[in-house]
């Protein structure tokens, strides 16, 4: 009896919620909060240029969606989950923010999405790498859009083994993130018939990689994989270049490398590096056209995160226009029901766990001879199909996945 009553009440309640939600756009304004690292380590990855991408999307809608004004507020998260949690709470409670974009450091993203879940607002995550964001930390209130670590490990390792790199040596940052990358890579390499001949753990962070690179070099493995991120990755690549690792015939596989990192290193240092990316500015006419616009605004070529911010915001605003509502669940459902076909993705779709799945690319950094300009940095070696790239729902720990 009680169960019946509970079911009935919840059915009535949800019907009322949907009914109320259908109404229209709250306070006739769609307010977007942009929360990202504007001054620290991840500034180049999302930062001020991500805000520019967001503004481009809003400008493409003429600053209005379905008659309602679109407003943007921004804040620097200082890579601190405290700041993120305070800021998002204040945005939602006092400023009526409907959606939060950006979201870079994983601790910041998880803190922000917890607040968004409590207050039933929407988060579009583009900057973060952690695949846990749509796994154990998934919520019905956010979408992880551009990429995550799963395809970075899976895609790069699987594709390189298929390209003939059979023996692997892994350089691992000695903390949870590095360990999980190392495990992912080892599993993929072995599954594809390769072999991991050795690995070494380095402290996080490490400024001097010489001894690690020398050991990796001495292992004679075909591929040296860098299971680390940020400054560690760039330091390792620089050191490897000094020791002439790629020139001697070994391949370096970076697992978390972005265009702005490679640009900072330059083709001379980074040449031959293999990496996985969700998007590249020079893929086709459409991406080039958008990147030219972006470059006019910012002076830089966009990273996949910048492109993801633009694309996801467009999807979000399209969904509001289609449904005439800015209610989070209505919009999220509409976004899930609409395949994504734009300059960022072809036939991308958002799964029930909030993961947007799309093709990923295995890229190799060009040599200075091949590179025709400072931003002409990648050649695409291989396309990793969406279904292979991301964590299958069958392996998901997300509470929203029905098999759970």
């Amino acid at each position: 009896m009680t169960i019946m009553r509970k079911l009935l009440t919840s059915a009535v309640a949800s019907a009322m919620m949907v009914g109320g939600a259908q109404a229209e756009i709250s306070d006739n304004t769609v307010k977007i909060g942009y929360l990202a690292d504007m001054s620290g380590t991840y500034r180049g990855l999302a930062g001020p240029n991500g805000l520019a991408a967001l503004k481009m999307a809003v400008a493409d809608f003429g600053g209005k969606v379905d008659g309602a004004k679109i407003e943007i507020v921004t804040a620097d998260d200082r890579n601190s989950p405290d700041v993120a949690s305070t800021t998002v709470r204040r945005w939602v409670e006092n400023d009526n923010v409907d959606m939060v974009a950006g979201l870079v450091a994983s601790s910041v993203t998880i803190a922000a999405t917890k607040v968004l879940e409590e207050s039933n607002k929407l988060g579009l995550v583009n900057g973060s790498a952690a695949s846990s964001i749509t796994n154990e930390h998934c919520t019905p209130n956010h979408i992880h859009y551009a990429y995550d670590t799963y395809p970075l490990a899976n895609g790069t390792a699987g594709a390189i083994v298929k390209e003939g790199g059979k023996t692997w040596y892994i350089l691992t940052a000695d903390y949870a993130f590095g360990h999980s990358m190392e495990n992912d890579v080892t599993a993929v390499v072995e599954k594809n018939g390769g072999e991991v001949v050795g690995s070494i753990r380095h402290p996080f962070p490490t400024p001097d990689f010489s001894s690690f690179i020398l050991q990796a070099q001495a292992s004679g493995a075909d591929v040296i994989a860098l299971a680390n991120a940020g400054a560690d990755t760039t330091n390792a690549i620089t050191t490897a270049a000094e020791f002439g690792v790629t020139q001697a015939g070994q391949t370096i596989a970076g697992l978390v490398v972005f265009l702005n990192d490679v640009h900072a290193l330059g083709a001379e240092v980074a040449q031959g590096l293999q990496l996985t990316t969700g998007w590249y500015w020079d893929l086709n006419d459409e991406t080039r056209a958008w990147s030219d616009r972006f470059m006019e605004e910012t002076g830089d070529r966009p990273t996949m995160v910048h492109a993801g911010i633009y694309s996801s915001t467009m999807q979000y605003l399209n969904a509001i226009e289609a449904t005439g509502s800015d209610d989070s669940q209505t919009v999220r459902k509409q976004m899930m029901d609409t395949p994504i076909n734009d300059m960022f993705a072809t036939n991308g779709r958002i799964r029930e766990d909030g993961r947007m799945i799309h093709d990923m690319y295995l890229a190799e950094v060009k040599t200075p001879e091949e590179s025709s300009s400072e931003w002409d940095l990648y050649k695409i070696v291989r396309t990793i199909p969406a279904d292979e790239a991301f964590r299958p729902l069958a392996d998901s720990n997300c509470k929203l996945v029905s098999s759970q």
């Binding site: 804040a75 200082r78 405290d82 601790s107 803190a111 917890k114 903390y175």
Partner: protein
């Protein structure tokens, strides 16, 4: 006039001076208290709680740095230990009420503080700072590696729960008044410690350690106790912070945090009671408010500039300078 008359005159004037100063302090504290009680109706309570937590952290640090003269560069370890312990206990044992979680976090931080103190107290100056930094880095790496902290993802979803099983802390106002009460309690405790005979010994140690030794004080014991009290209060600040934000993260354990609390104390005025509170308020505000405005790319340089300015021009910090000014002109 006889000599005794002159003496009693002087004594009377000193008493009078102390009375006016006490009255002034009382009025100031009263005004501050009223402001703190009313603040959540005007300002955002979670933000105020953040300020209070950091203020408590700075007050704890100041007890050691400002009053005892020991520069610890590892106080983040206590903040984080308190936070992670409380967060872990409250997330995993639903039977625990919030205050029990907070007390447990404080206790663990206190024990850690005792360990730090025993290992570092015999060194002085820069060596003391370096030993505490090294120990704090060990703690940081422990939190990076330990599975229960969630590594760089942080620990999330700590329940606020109910105070004494009665008062619902999910409500921001309840939470605020709880944090305020704890903060005021600790502030009064530090005030009491500083003005007690024990506090005077600490000041003596700060001014001239050899003389304190030659007067027969077992200086190391006094210093250890000061260190442990300071660590306990820092741990309490971390514990409350993890309940307020419902998360604990590596930022709290990072050496940046140890640096930040030095900054707060120096800007506000080390060796004063209100200084660290004001310093914490300023630093948190600068970080937060500037982070939202057009100057958001410049938060770190601005903080750095203020730091340099304080060290070069206002050695005794804002509160210290104001106190000097008041004594000189209105004494």
């Amino acid at each position: 006039m006889s000599q005794t008359d002159i003496q009693s005159d002087i004594q009377a004037s000193i008493l009078r001076q102390q009375k006016t100063e006490n009255r002034r302090k009382l009025i100031l504290n009263g005004v501050l208290l009223v402001l703190l009680l009313l603040a959540p109706f005007v300002l955002y309570p979670v933000f105020l709680m953040k300020i209070l937590c950091f203020a408590l952290f700075a007050v704890a640090f100041n007890l050691l740095f400002g009053f005892t003269g020991l520069l610890s560069f590892g106080h983040a370890a206590f903040l984080a230990t308190g936070g992670y312990t409380t967060g872990y206990l409250l997330s995993n044992f639903s039977g625990l009420t919030t205050e029990m979680g907070i007390i447990a976090g404080t206790l663990v931080a206190t024990l850690l503080g005792l360990g730090f103190a025993l290992l570092s107290i015999r060194r002085q100056g820069i060596y003391f700072a370096m030993v505490t930094l090294a120990l704090a880095q060990l703690v940081f790496f422990f939190f990076v590696q330990a599975p229960f902290t969630g590594g760089e993802d942080g620990m999330h979803g700590v329940p606020r729960g109910e105070l004494f099983g009665l008062i619902n802390l999910e409500d921001n106002l309840n939470m605020y008044y709880f944090v305020l009460a704890v903060f005021l309690g600790c502030y009064l405790l530090v005030q009491r410690i500083v003005s007690s005979p024990y506090g005077h010994v600490l000041k003596a140690i700060k001014q001239n350690e050899s003389r304190a030794v030659s007067l027969g004080y077992k200086v190391d014991r006094y210093k250890i106790l000061a260190f442990v009290i300071s660590a306990a209060l820092a741990g309490l600040a971390g514990s409350m912070k993890s309940v307020v934000f419902q998360l604990a993260s590596l930022n709290d354990a990072h050496w940046h945090m140890s640096g930040e609390v030095i900054l707060m104390t120096l800007i506000g005025g080390m060796g004063t009671l209100l200084g660290p509170v004001l310093g914490a308020t300023l630093v948190v505000n600068i970080e937060y408010q500037l982070g939202q405005g057009p100057l958001r790319d410049w938060v770190d340089p601005i903080l750095g500039g203020i730091f340099v300015l304080t060290v070069l021009a206002f050695r005794s910090g804002i509160v210290g300078e104001v106190q000097k000014f008041v004594r000189k002109n209105m004494g």
